[in-house]
Structure formats: C-alpha cells, structure tokens
C-alpha cells in the first residue's frame, strides 16, 4: 500500500528537481515530469484499488510530523479522495501528453513545474484533513493556475488570468478568514476534530456565519452563478490543456472539499443553500450557453452547469432527512457525474484545441472524415448530455430517482436543464457533423483516450446501476445490442456489413422467438423485428455513401425498439427508449438535413425528459394496472410518445427529420419507430389512464390525433419534396392511430392496431420506393420527376397499391382501418372528430394524387431518360410489402383475429364487437362490410370490362409522350408540358390560411424568446473585474444574511 503522503512528497520533490534540471538537461526534465505523473497515477490507483478490493475499509489518516491529528496536520484519504486523486492524475496525464505533442510553452521547464504543482495542489486539496492546510493547497492550486492561464498564448488569456486572480484572492481571503475564525471558535483546525466538536449541528449564529464565510469562498471557486464570470473567461481565454486540467480535475477537487466542509460543518441551512445555488447555476449555465458562439466558452457554460448540478446533488446528499438508500444513490450519481464530466470535458477541451478558430461555425465538418475526432466528440457529447449508454445517463437517472417526492420541482429543474443542454450541445454536434469535410488537428491521442475511458466504462456502469435501480433490462436485447455494435468492425466492406446485419437480425428473431405471444408487446415485437428485417434488405443500395456506423446504428434502433416493447418496467422502457432515440438521431444526422437532426434531438429529448419526470411521479415502476394519482404522470409520459408520433403541436421536427434522414433509414423511422409512440400511448391509456376512465383527457388526445391528421394532411398537399410529403402523410396517419387509441373502445383499438400494421406496410413501401427512386433519379424534388412509370413500372405498381391503401380506398387493405375507425367513432359518438377525420382523409386524396402524378405520371423529363428500375433489393422489398396489402384487403381477418387476441389480453379491453357473416362480411352494430366480396367483385368486373374493352375497342396506337393535342403546336420539350410546379396552387388560395406556420412560429418564438432571455441574462458577465468582484461581495453578503439567520 502506498502512503498518500508519498504521492505529495514525490511530486513536490520532482517539481523542485525539474526546477533544477531544466537548466541542465531538458530531456531529463521531461522524463521526470512524465514519470512523476505516471507514478502518481499508479500510486493513487493502488490506493483506490485498496479501497475497492476491501483491503482498506476505513479512510486512511496519515499523520505528519509524528503528531496525532488535532495537534499535527493529517491527511485524510478515503475512497472518494483516492478516486479523486486517480481522476486528477489521469486528467493531468492526458493533458500532459497532449501538451507534449502540441509543444510545450517556453520555458518548458517552468511550464512543467506549474503543471505538476497544479495537479499536486488539487490532490492536496483533496487529501488534506486540516482547514489551514486546505487553504495552503488552495493557494498552490490557484497560483499555479494563474500562472498557467496567464502564460497561454491565446487571446485574452492575460485578462482572464487577472480576473481569475482578483476573484480568487477575494475567495481565498474569505476562506482564510473563515478558517482563522473557525480556529478561534473551536480551538482547532483539524476537520475531524472540529466535526466532532460540532456533532450536534451548528447552533450559534457566529459559527454559522463562519461556516458561510468558508462556503462562500468555496462557492466562488465552484463557479456558482452569478460569480462565475471569471471562470467562463478562463475557459474561453486559456490554453485548452490548462482548462482541461482546471475544469476536469481542479474544480472537482474543490467540489469534494465543498462536500467535506459542508459535511464537517453541519449547517442547517446548507440544504436550501445548495439547492438555490446549485439550481440557479445549473439553469443559468444551461440556458446562457444557448447564445454562445465561442465553443470554449460554451463548454465553460456547460461545465458551470454541471457544477451546479453537482452542488444541487450535494444538497441532497448531505440532507440527513433523506433515506440512506437514496443518499447512497445520490452519492453514486455524484461519482458518475464527476467521472463523466471530467473525462468528457477533458476530451472536449482538448478537441477544441485541435480546431482552428473558436466559433461554433469553425467546427463545421470537423467530424467528417476524422473518425477519431468523431468518436471522441460524439462519445463526450453524449456523455455530458446524459445520453445512454454513457455514464452520464445513469447519473441523471440515479439522481432523479433518489430525490424524494416533495422535491419534485428539483427534478423538474434538472430535467429542464438537461433539455437545454441537449439544445446547445446538439447544435454544435449538428454543425460539426455536417458541411464540408474539414481537416482538424491530429493531436487526438488524449481526447481519444479520455473518451475511450468513457466508452469502456459503459458496460461496467450498466452492470452496476441497472442492478442498483432494480431495472430488469432484458439481457437478450442487451446482448443483441452488443452484437449490433460489433457490426461496426465489418466497416471495411459495406456488403459484408449488410449481410452481417441481416444475420444478426435473423439471430435476434431466433433469440426473441419466445416473446412472440398474442399480447401487446408480442404484437409490436413482431412488427419491429420482421418489419425491421424486411426494411434492412432494402438498405443495401447506396449505403456506400453512408458512414460505416450506419448498420450498427440501424440494428441498435431495431433492437432497442424490441427492448422497449419487451420492457416490464417503465424505467427499462425509458432506457431503451433513449437508446432508440439517440441511435436514430445518429441515423437522421447521416442525411443531409440542415436542422432536422437537431430539432429531432430537441423534441425527442424534451419528450424523453418529460417521460422521465412522469415515471418519477408514478407510484410503481412496473408496467401494470395500478392507482395513479392525478393526470400529470400520464400527461408527462405520453408527451414522449406524442413527440415520437409527431402529434400536432410537437410535429415540427418530423418533416425535416423524415425528409432529410438517410434514405435507407426513413422507412424504419416512419413505418416502425413512429409506432413505438403508438405502443407507448397504448400502454399509457391502458395502464395509467385506464380505458374507461379519464374521458376528458382521452377526448383531448382524440382531438390531438384528428387535428394532427387534418393539418399534416393539408401540409402534405402543399409539400413539394417527395420524402417530406410522405413524412407529413406518415404523421397524419399516425394521428388517426392515436385517435383510435384515445377512443379506448375495443373497436377503436382494433382500428388502431390494424392501422398500425397496415400503415407500416404501405408507408414503408412508399418510403422504400422513394428511396429507390431517389437513388436512381438523384433528387427528391417532385417537380423534377414525372413520367417514371415508363421506366419503373414495378415501382409504380407497388406505389399505386400503397397509395390506394393509404387513401383507404377499398378493396385494398387500407380501408379496413378506416372503416373500423369510423365505426368506432360513430359508435362512441365523437361527432365533431368524426367529421374532421372524414375531411382529413378526403384531403389525403389530394396528396395521394400528387405523389403518383408528380413522380410517375405526366411527362418523363429529359434528364431522367436513362433512369432504370429500382435496384433488385428494393424491388424485392417492394414486392414483399405489396403482398400483404392485397391479401389483407381480401382477408382482413388474418390481422383482425390476432388483434382480438391482443385486445383480450389487455385489462379493460375485450375483442372488438364484430361478428363475421358469410354474406355481409364483417358486421358491427352500426354497419357491415364484406372485404372479400368487394375484392372479388372489383377484380372480376374489372377483368370483364377489360376483356370486353380489348375485344371491342378501336384500333389503338400507342403514341409518344409529346403526342398530345396542343392547339396544333408541336411541343418542344417534356418540361413545357409537365405540370409539376404549384400543383395545388389554386387550393392554396382557398385554404392557405390554414397552413400558416403558426406552430412553427410559436416554437420558434419560444426558442427565440429563451435566446433573448439568455442573451439578456448573460450580459451580467460584463467582463469587468470590478463588477465580478462586486458580485462576489454582494453574493457573500446575501449568503451571510439569508442563510445564517443573523438579523
């Protein structure tokens, strides 16, 4: 076992030694420098391992000078301190490597000394058990930091250092004063000793004031709002390596001290202090970052926010009124947050060092063609934003679920902040991942290693924490997710990846075979796996243009959806839901969308966090019937699902996300992923709302569904981009499904479930066909196509049938859903909704015609003369999806019977009240409909008419495409004759006011409003030292006044 004092002693000695050596042998100075860091890392690692392995049970107390603690100074090293030391030295090590590669500032010996002493100071802060000694180490850290910051060659470094120094001096003055007063009041400087004396809590006002004096000094170092202006300036102005060490290690050490101080000096008002300052810092940081264009400062805001979260967590952690179980959970969350944030921020700041220019725009395209950079950046951003599978996700979940119910506002605050975080991080991510590929610097070892640490920790973290929270995550699904990630290794060859994915999916179906039961999850599981498999076949053409992460992400989406439907608790559903969301985010981001993926990320995150909040409010995590107080959990949880379904006011992401995602992925997105929203809403309606209770909310949901259907249909009519049109259509159709689910009657549900499957068939078919067409034609802009029926007869036929099905025209399968839905609506008596639903489905004919006309009919454009039929795999999938449309059209019972089984497995629902007669077909109380007859009648009479026509018709000449009656003129080009642009312009004149982008403007208004507030808010950081100092004084006065109780 290593004595912790050795770490400090050796480091100090080698710092002095480097001071000597630099003048004589520079190389040896470097060697000593690195060796020292390695030694420190190893030594602290050994200590930490000692704690982990149980060899050391209690904190080590190292006496110095041979005197027991209250007399002499001692080091107090427990598990947390050891871990912190490991963290500090690993960040320092990574930073040092980066520094060496980048080139040390001159004179390098002095730089190394400062660097070494900065990490030493941070370690000392962590280790020491004596308040005055703490002050000394704080000063060591600070002075080293001043020096390093000031020495940076970056613009504004000096200024930042000066501000840092002034504010830091005030802060350390407060700490010093507090420490001395503390000595005077308690007669001791030793932390444990004082804590022992104050065991009963601080009662006297003077001691409270003294404690607050120390705490306010520490709060300055912890970058609490609004006294964090200096920190932001430092993050922006200083050398990224230094910043990484500061943000990644030093500040965390301060946090630990803060925690310890607050623990040793038990102040009754500490809880509210931590909550107020943590909360405000967190929110302010997250929101002020929105307007930030300088990336390093943006990271700074993010760091500040993370610290705020940590302080908030500290408040709960030290609140002895909480159950010890939840305090333990919060402790774990704090550990995870620190770990996560340190390495992620290190990685990000060091990455920032690799990018020329400091603005967000300068990052454009940095992820393209730089796989290492992309990996580091993605995993770091995912970590910080708390996105599964990274550790930050578990940190957030643990923290939230440990907070007792009466502080649910804190949960709301955490979730709102997390959402705000997603907004700006993914803005950066979007900028970085799109645009022209750009060379980023090659100094990627350290960021890569630190993000690798984050990634490597993932399985361990999952293993530990899913057990800790007792979330039974489906092991088979996890295994499949793991295998899916392995597909990445086949990245050198796209066909191999494709085949591997198919094999994996097949294996997945084999593994999950026992789950195909006639219940809700079995139903959706079948949809997910078979649907996903079918669509996977069609992804092959054009996948060469996609990054090699496409197939892994695709499979992860599919299997996480399987995880969602197989979840038995809400929390595991949430976990898989998040995995699904973010892997699909990656896929959407692979398209050429400008803002699509970003919007998707924001809305999905908003939904997911609302869901988390709702789950938090639930009395039991199990998915099952139980008493749920109030409507709020149901509303919150269903928000996530409504977002995924893109229901009306939450729909604005959908157009671009569908329209601009990778073509190979869109069918899955529309056909299956939006159905996860249906699944979720179904769960909410059955298990939380109750199918027969809460009629008002369900009526409201019904209106949402039908208005979505109406407005999205209308928007689709005026949309000129094939995929965006289909996107709107998809959203509208899902609106109908939502309507059925909201009805809560067996008939409505069978309509919904039927339509769910059927919508998959035709919409997936349409998107697959669209992918094939776009692959061949090279554009998705409708007016540039036309006449493709001459080149792609099969695709036309498939699309035609899909469209007939989509429009709900008998005799194809789509009608059944419509018929069931209207029957259910009339049965239920939702009159107005019925009317709007009818109207919406009439409007759907408009865009149905538009698709067929603009793509396939009309004149074949000259540039498309040499277009061929869609690739074989696409055609295969088209046929595969086509058959059910016809078969179900004739025999809807093939699907309705299983749906009945599903319905009877759900509490509160029974099989749909339909009985089947031989003549009348399906009969309900209201009406009847004979699908088979209609199919036979239609087909028969069509054939008869055709034969009759063929026999009797005049002599038919097939003419060329320009041979039209054109007032005697000879058309010169196909373009002149093609009616493509402004197909429904006249209709727009009539109803254009209905598609005024009100919702978009409202969202935009909200976004811009928050931006404006953030802009206003961050003006408090005037950049003026006087002001910063004044903030510090003012804040400390406020702290002293409010929290001490002195009048």
């Amino acid at each position: 076992m290593v004595n912790p004092i050795v770490i400090i002693g050796i480091t100090l000695a080698s710092a002095f030694f480097i001071g000597i050596l630099q003048a004589y042998a520079k190389v040896w100075a470097r060697v000593i420098f690195i060796l020292t860091l390695v030694f420190d890392l190893l030594a602290s690692g050994i200590v930490f391992y000692g704690f982990l392995s149980g060899e050391l049970a209690r904190p080590i107390s190292v006496k110095i000078g041979g005197f027991p603690p209250p007399i002499g100074i001692n080091l107090l090293v427990g598990k947390a301190e050891a871990a912190m030391a490991v963290l500090i030295f690993s960040v320092a090590f990574l930073g040092a490597i980066h520094w060496f590669v980048k080139g040390l500032p001159q004179p390098e010996g002095k730089a190394m000394v400062l660097f070494l002493l900065l990490s030493l100071g941070a370690t000392g802060i962590t280790f020491t058990g004596d308040f005055f000694n703490l002050f000394v180490f704080i000063e060591i850290t600070s002075i080293a930091a001043y020096g390093l910051v000031a020495s940076s060659r970056t613009k504004g470094a000096l200024e930042a250092a000066f501000k840092y120094m002034v504010v830091g001096s005030i802060s350390s003055t407060f700490i010093l004063l507090g420490v001395v007063f503390l000595y005077k009041a308690t007669g001791s400087l030793n932390m444990m000793d004082i804590a022992g004396k104050l065991l009963g809590g601080i009662s006297s006002a003077v001691l409270a004031l003294i404690t607050l004096l120390i705490l306010s000094g520490l709060l300055v170092e912890l970058e609490v709002f609004p006294i964090n202006g200096w920190a932001l300036d430092v993050y922006q102005g200083a050398d990224p390596v230094v910043v990484a060490l500061l943000a990644g290690a030093a500040v965390k050490a301060f946090y630990l001290v803060f925690l310890k101080t607050a623990g040793f000096l038990p102040l009754s008002s500490f809880f509210s202090l931590a909550l107020i300052f943590g909360g405000s810092t967190y929110l302010a940081g997250q929101f002020f970052a929105w307007r930030q264009r300088d990336v390093r400062r943006l990271f700074g805001y993010s760091s500040v926010a993370q610290l705020g979260l940590l302080i908030l967590a500290a408040g709960f952690f030290l609140n002895s009124a909480l159950a010890s179980q939840s305090r333990l959970m919060i402790g774990a969350a704090i550990v995870l947050l620190i770990f996560n944030h340190s390495f992620a921020k290190t990685s990000l700041f060091l990455l920032a060092d690799n990018v020329k220019g400091s603005n967000v725009e300068d990052w454009a395209g940095t992820l393209r063609g730089n796989p290492l950079f992309a990996f580091s950046f993605t995993s770091s951003v995912f970590s910080i934003a708390g996105i599964p599978p990274m550790a930050g996700f578990w940190a957030k979940v643990l923290l939230i679920f440990a907070i007792p119910r009466q502080y649910s506002w804190a949960v709301a605050l955490i979730l709102i902040g997390a959402l705000a975080e997603v907004v700006y991080y993914f803005h950066l991510y979007r900028v970085a991942s799109q645009g022209e590929g750009k060379e980023a610097g090659g100094n990627l070892f350290s960021p890569f290693v630190s993000s690798l640490l984050l990634v490597v920790s993932v399985p361990m973290v999952w293993g530990i924490f899913s057990r800790k929270l007792s979330i039974p995550l489906n092991g088979q699904v996890l295994l499949l997710l793991g295998i899916s990630l392995g597909i990445y290794l086949l990245g050198f060859s796209r066909p191999l990846q494709w085949l591997g994915s198919l094999a994996t999916l097949g294996y997945g179906i084999y593994v999950l075979l026992p789950h195909f039961k006639p219940d809700l999850s079995g139903f959706f599981l079948a949809l997910v796996l078979f649907g996903g498999g079918a669509l996977l076949i069609a992804t092959y053409p054009g996948s060469k243009k996609l990054p090699s992460t496409f197939y892994p992400a695709y499979l992860v989406v599919v299997f996480s959806m399987a995880g969602v439907v197989l979840s038995s608790t809400w929390l595991s559903l949430f976990v898989f839901w998040e995995v699904m969301t973010w892997s699909s985010f990656l896929l959407i981001n692979m398209g050429e969308g400008k803002k699509a993926a970003w919007l998707y990320a924001i809305f999905s995150a908003a939904g997911a966090y609302a869901m988390l909040g709702g789950i938090y409010l639930l009395p039991s995590l199990r998915i099952g019937v139980g008493k749920v107080p109030g409507l709020l959990p149901a509303v919150l949880i269903s928000l996530a699902f409504l977002v995924k379904m893109a229901t009306a006011p939450l729909h604005i992401w959908a157009r671009d996300a569908y329209g601009e995602s990778a073509h190979q992925f869109t069918p899955l997105l529309s056909g299956i992923m939006s159905k996860m929203g249906v699944f979720g809403t179904a769960l909410v309606v059955v298990y939380i709302l109750g199918v027969s209770s809460n009629p008002v909310f369900r009526y409201f949901l019904g209106w949402l569904g039908v208005l979505t259907a109406f407005f999205m249909t209308l928007l689709a009519v005026f949309q000129d981009d094939l995929k965006k049109l289909l996107a709107y259509s998809s959203v509208a159709q899902v609106g109908y499904i939502l309507l059925g689910v909201a009805l809560g009657t067996p008939l409505g549900w069978s309509a919904s479930l039927y339509h769910t499957v059927n919508h998959f068939f035709f919409k997936a078919l349409l998107f697959v066909a669209a992918a094939g067409i776009i692959y061949r034609v090279g554009t998705s802009y409708l007016p540039q196509m036309g006449g493709l029926i001459r080149r792609m007869p099969l695709t036309f036929f498939a699309t035609l049938l899909a469209i007939i099905s989509l429009a709900g025209i008998p005799p194809l399968s789509g009608f059944a859903g419509k018929w069931l839905l209207y029957s259910a609506l009339i049965e239920k008596g939702w009159i107005f909704i019925t009317v709007v639903a009818f109207l919406a489905s009439t409007l759907a004919f408009l865009y149905c015609f538009k698709i067929l006309h603009s793509v396939f009919l009309g004149q074949l454009q000259e540039e498309n003369f040499n277009v061929k039929e869609v690739p074989l795999t696409v055609a295969l999938v088209e046929v595969l999806l086509l058959l059910p449309l016809i078969i179900l059209g004739a025999f809807p019972r093939l699907l309705l019977d299983p749906i009945d089984k599903v319905l009877s497995s759900l509490p509160g629902l029974s099989p749909a009240p339909i009985h089947y007669g031989r003549v009348m077909g399906a009969v309900t109380k209201l009406g009847h409909w004979n699908a088979l007859f209609l199919m036979v009648f239609f087909a028969g009479s069509f054939l008869i008419a055709l034969v009759f026509f063929a026999i009797t018709s005049a002599r038919i000449r097939k003419v060329g495409q320009l041979d039209v009656g054109y007032s005697g003129e000879v058309p010169r080009s196909a373009e002149d004759l093609h009616f493509g642009y402004g197909l429904y312009e006249h209709f727009r004149k009539a109803v254009g006011w209905l598609i005024y982008p009100l919702v978009t403007k409202v969202w935009k208004g909200i976004y811009e409003g928050i931006n404006a507030l953030a802009e206003m808010g961050r003006r408090i950081y005037t950049g003026d030292v006087n002001t910063y100092a004044a903030y510090v004084i003012a804040l400390s006065i406020i702290i002293l006044y409010i929290f001490s109780g002195v009048k």
Binding site: F132, V136, E139, S142, I143, Y146, G147, A150, K155, G156, L158, E159, A160, A161, F162, K163, M165, V166, S169, I170, T173, L176, L177, V180, F181, Y183, K184, G229, L232, D233, Q236, G237, R291, Q292, R297, R1018, R1019, Y1021, T1022, G1023, D1024, V1025, N1026, A1029, A1030, I1033
Partner: protein
Amino acid sequence: MAFFVASILLILIGLYAVLVKRNIMKIVIGLSLMDTGVNVLIISLGFIRGRTAPIVNVKDLLVNTSSKVVDPLPQALVLTAIVIGVAVTAVALSIVMLMYSKKNTLEIDEYKELKW
C-alpha cells in the same frame, strides 16, 4: 478592539479599491491591503492581554507556559499567510507587467475582451 476595527477597515479599504478603482495596479494594491488586513486580524485574534511572545528562552517561561505567553498558532499561520500574499502579489505584478506591455495601459476598461 481597535486592532479588530483597524484590520476590518483595512480589509474593507482593500476591497474598496478592488471594487471601485479602474486601474489595474490599484486593484493589485487593494488585494495587498486586504491581505495585510487579514494578517493583522489573525495576529490580533491570537493576542492575549498582558502576555509575552511565545519564545521560551528564559527558564521562567518553562513552567506553566500557557499562562504566560500569547497564542503562537495564529502567528505561525500568519507567517504562512504573509508568504502566500507575497507570492500572489508577485504573480499579480508579473501579470500586470505583461498586460501593460501588451496594451500600454492600465485602465481596466481596456481589458474587457472576454465577456458574455
């Protein structure tokens, strides 16, 4: 008592300079003043009326020392605090020198590039 008042006043005067003065040098001076104030305060906290310095160089002091000398610990602390103050001032001055050499001015308004 007067020591307390004086030292607190010293701290406040230093802080006043930091809060109000627009000249970097004066701010640094303010910080120094503040340090001094704190040091005085520490020393005066350790003072016990009518006692001698904690240096036991006379036999007389060897017995029952604690009733004859002032508290030595604050003095030890102040030693450290002074040195730290010096160190901070040194670094501060070097930063000021660098700042001055870059912009040829000590006005704080010129050093507000980083903000918001």
